[in-house]
């Protein structure tokens, strides 16, 4: 165990890498979706320019302290999630602050960001933000159910709350991945993942057509930039978390990139194909099949894997 300053330094490096990677990924995905739409699409570096542009916006209207804190909380949530997710297995530098119960912390931070955002957006006084928040929270609560069930299943399976331990248990061959050892949990988690990424059909929270962009309606300039950064970091953290939990983690950066990209593409592939659900439909959806699968996963784990 090294000194804290060094670990913090390492973490900052991680944060930068993951953030940049998240931004790049959003550019790549936009281009991929553009291809589906028969277009050329944005340059992959466009998200960076947009980010800088938003930082460079000059006026900023504030709706009070909570409004201002919303993106901060959100970014904190993203960073917090990442902080407890080991990026590369077996690498000192990329292990972040992992400890015995880091899975719980990571999950906590995933909620934290959303909630902080909800308060902030609610403060903006814009009805569309409020509706977006209501929808977002509703949908989040719904997809958290299968996700939590899947997590419970693998926690039970591996008998640990440490992500590092879970990754460690999956080493030594592709068949050791949770994907193959506990497919039901992975299916439940991956469906929840669709909800988390906010691609169709679960993008009603931020739908431009139904409610102009939802919670971030009022956010602009550096607030928006902060949220964009969070999206990048958060997406990266989530992907790494999923990779760690279900796809055997990564031992080097190349593996990391390939695996996270592949996981992300699941959401993109589904997203391009479907229109979006209404929020009541998506809640109903999450509480139906994925939840059942999640429960089945726990049962399967208990009944098949543990004995």
């Amino acid at each position: 165990m090294q000194d804290w300053p060094v670990r913090i330094g390492y973490f900052l490096i991680n944060l930068t890498i993951v953030g940049l990677y998240g931004m790049l990924l959003s550019g790549i995905v936009a281009r991929t979706l553009a291809k589906v739409q028969g277009r050329i699409g944005i340059p992959v570096y466009q998200p960076f320019i947009d980010l800088l542009k938003n930082l460079g916006k000059r006026t900023a209207v504030s709706h009070g302290a909570m409004f201002y804190l919303g993106p901060v909380f959100r970014l904190a949530g993203g960073i917090g999630t990442l902080a407890f997710v080991p990026v590369l297995y077996g690498s000192e530098m990329f292990s972040n602050f992992n400890s015995a119960g880091d899975l719980l912390l990571a999950m906590y931070f995933m909620f934290f960001g959303q909630l902080g955002m909800a308060i902030g957006a609610g403060e903006s006084g814009h009805p569309f933000s409020a509706i977006g928040v209501a929808r977002g929270l509703g949908q989040m609560t719904a997809y958290e159910v299968p996700f939590a069930l899947a997590i419970i299943a693998i926690v039970v399976q591996y008998g640990s709350l440490s992500i590092n331990d879970i990754v460690a248990a999956q080493q030594g061959g592709i068949l050791n991945w949770t994907l193959f050892t506990n497919p039901l949990a992975v299916i439940a988690a991956m469906i929840a993942f669709l909800g988390m990424t906010g691609y169709s059909p679960f993008d009603v929270t931020m739908a431009p057509n139904e409610i102009p962009i939802g919670p971030p309606t009022e956010y602009h300039s550096s607030y928006l930039a902060m949220m964009t950064m969070n999206r990048a970091v958060f997406a990266g953290a989530k992907l790494i978390l999923f990779m760690d939990l279900f796809f055997g983690g990564a031992t080097n950066l190349v593996e990391l990139v390939i695996k996270t990209w592949a996981i992300y593409m699941v959401a993109v592939v589904v997203g391009a194909a479907f229109p979006r659900f209404r929020v009541d439909q998506s809640i109903r959806f999450f509480l139906r099949y994925p939840t059942l699968i999640g429960i089945a996963a726990i049962g399967y784990t208990q009944a098949v894997l543990l004995p």
């Binding site: 028969g38 009805p127 509706i131 929808r135 009603v204 139904e210 102009p212 479907f274 229109p275 009541d280």
Partner: protein, 378 residues
């Protein structure tokens, strides 16, 4: 038959007033809906129009008959040609001019191409309204291919100003038929793709089936026409019932449905696009290749149309589009009234249908009625 929506007590705190539009991407065109919501449910809806009001009917009263010809197409932006045709039709009727047969064929071709282009835009719109923007990208692109044809035929992409009282403005360009066939083939292929992606889509079906049901008995008291009416099971189409131009010589099927919900309306329109392609192919093959395309006209600079009044209507993509023209024998129009189908679809009907739906469905509902605000306020 007007039944006001039940009153809402805003002071109770249960409700939220929500304005959709005019600056709102979920609104067709530039209009706004004043929604009263309770949770996610809409309990009252009031439409507000007039953001595009230019006073066409007033402007037309101070322009000569030929000067009105460029202005009418501006009334409905995505579908200007029907205005041109109907204006020409009413003026010709009162002036006693018969446009030549070749012009009638070219007009039909023009109108059906426009219908196809307009439906393509709409198809993308309904995709986008429910979150499938890929379809929107595809269809708008294919609409652009049709606009290329228009550009070639008429000299402009959007405001063609091609159907002039007395005939049309020019012959079809060399080789137009071939290029038109090519575009039709591409559009047909696209439509098959869209069917796979949009109509056979579980999420799309979940969103649209049962949404915005129009009861059969509501159709006449609300003046509902066009595909909205046909989706409710009425086999009524002006192209069949009162054939104008050369529609009596074309073979096409009347598409109806019975469910009368958003999906049924979308499906009827989708099928009509196929019928449109069928008609266009017939037009291209059977159209006379020579002969005059303009009737003998007086000097248009001081063209006086005899006093009289008439009403001409045509089946546009939304329903019955009509021009009511009153003349008094002078060089100017006495009164023009433009009857756009959106007038009732977007106001009386929309206000009725919105009640009880989810806020998220308002945009899709509106698209499914296929409304163009500019023809409401003119």
């Amino acid at each position: 038959m007007f039944e006001p929506n039940p009153p809402v007590d805003l002071s109770s705190g249960k409700y939220l007033k929500l304005w959709q539009g005019p600056q709102h991407p979920g609104i067709t065109g530039n209009m706004s809906l004043e929604l009263t919501t309770c949770g996610d449910e809409v309990v009252d809806c009031k439409t507000h129009v007039g953001y595009l009001h230019r006073g066409f009917e007033k402007l037309m009263e101070r322009r000569t008959f030929i000067q009105n010809f460029p202005i009418v197409c501006r009334i409905a932006v995505p579908e200007p040609t029907f205005n041109e045709y109907l204006y020409a039709a009413v003026v010709e009727e009162l002036a006693g001019i018969q446009s030549p047969e070749r012009a009638e064929w070219i007009r039909t071709l023009n109108l059906e191409l426009m219908r196809l282009a307009s439906y393509l835009m709409w198809l993308g719109g309904i995709g986008a309204a429910f979150g499938q923007s890929t379809v929107y990208q595809w269809t708008v692109t294919h609409r652009d291919y049709i606009l290329d044809l228009f550009e070639e035929m008429t000299g402009a992409r959007v405001y063609h100003m091609y159907i002039v009282p007395g005939g049309v403005r020019g012959r079809l360009p060399e080789g137009f038929e071939g290029r038109c066939h090519e575009v039709l083939n591409r559009v047909e292929k696209l439509l098959r793709d869209v069917e796979k992606v949009l109509f056979n889509n579980v999420v799309f079906k979940a969103r649209t089936k049962g949404l915005g049901h129009i009861p059969r008995e509501m159709v006449d008291p609300y003046g509902i026409t066009g595909p909205n009416q046909r989706a409710a099971g009425f086999a009524r189409d002006l192209r069949k019932d009162a054939p104008y131009l050369v529609y009596d010589q074309l073979e096409f099927d009347l598409i109806t449905a019975t469910e009368s919900d958003t999906y049924a309306r979308a499906w009827v329109r989708y099928q009509e696009m196929h019928q449109g392609i069928r008609m266009l192919r017939q037009c291209l093959d059977r159209m006379p290749k020579d002969g005059p395309f303009q009737a003998r006209m007086p000097n248009v600079l001081h063209w006086q149309v005899p006093a009289g009044e008439t009403y001409a209507k045509a089946e546009c993509t939304r329903g019955e589009y009509g021009y009511y023209l009153v003349t008094d024998g002078s060089e100017y129009v006495r009164r023009v009234h433009v009857r756009g189908p959106s007038y009732t679809h977007a106001i009386a009907l929309m206000e009725k249908l919105a009640v009880g739906t989810n806020i998220a469905d308002i945009a899709g509902l509106m698209v499914s009625l296929h409304t163009y605000p500019p023809e409401i306020e003119r």
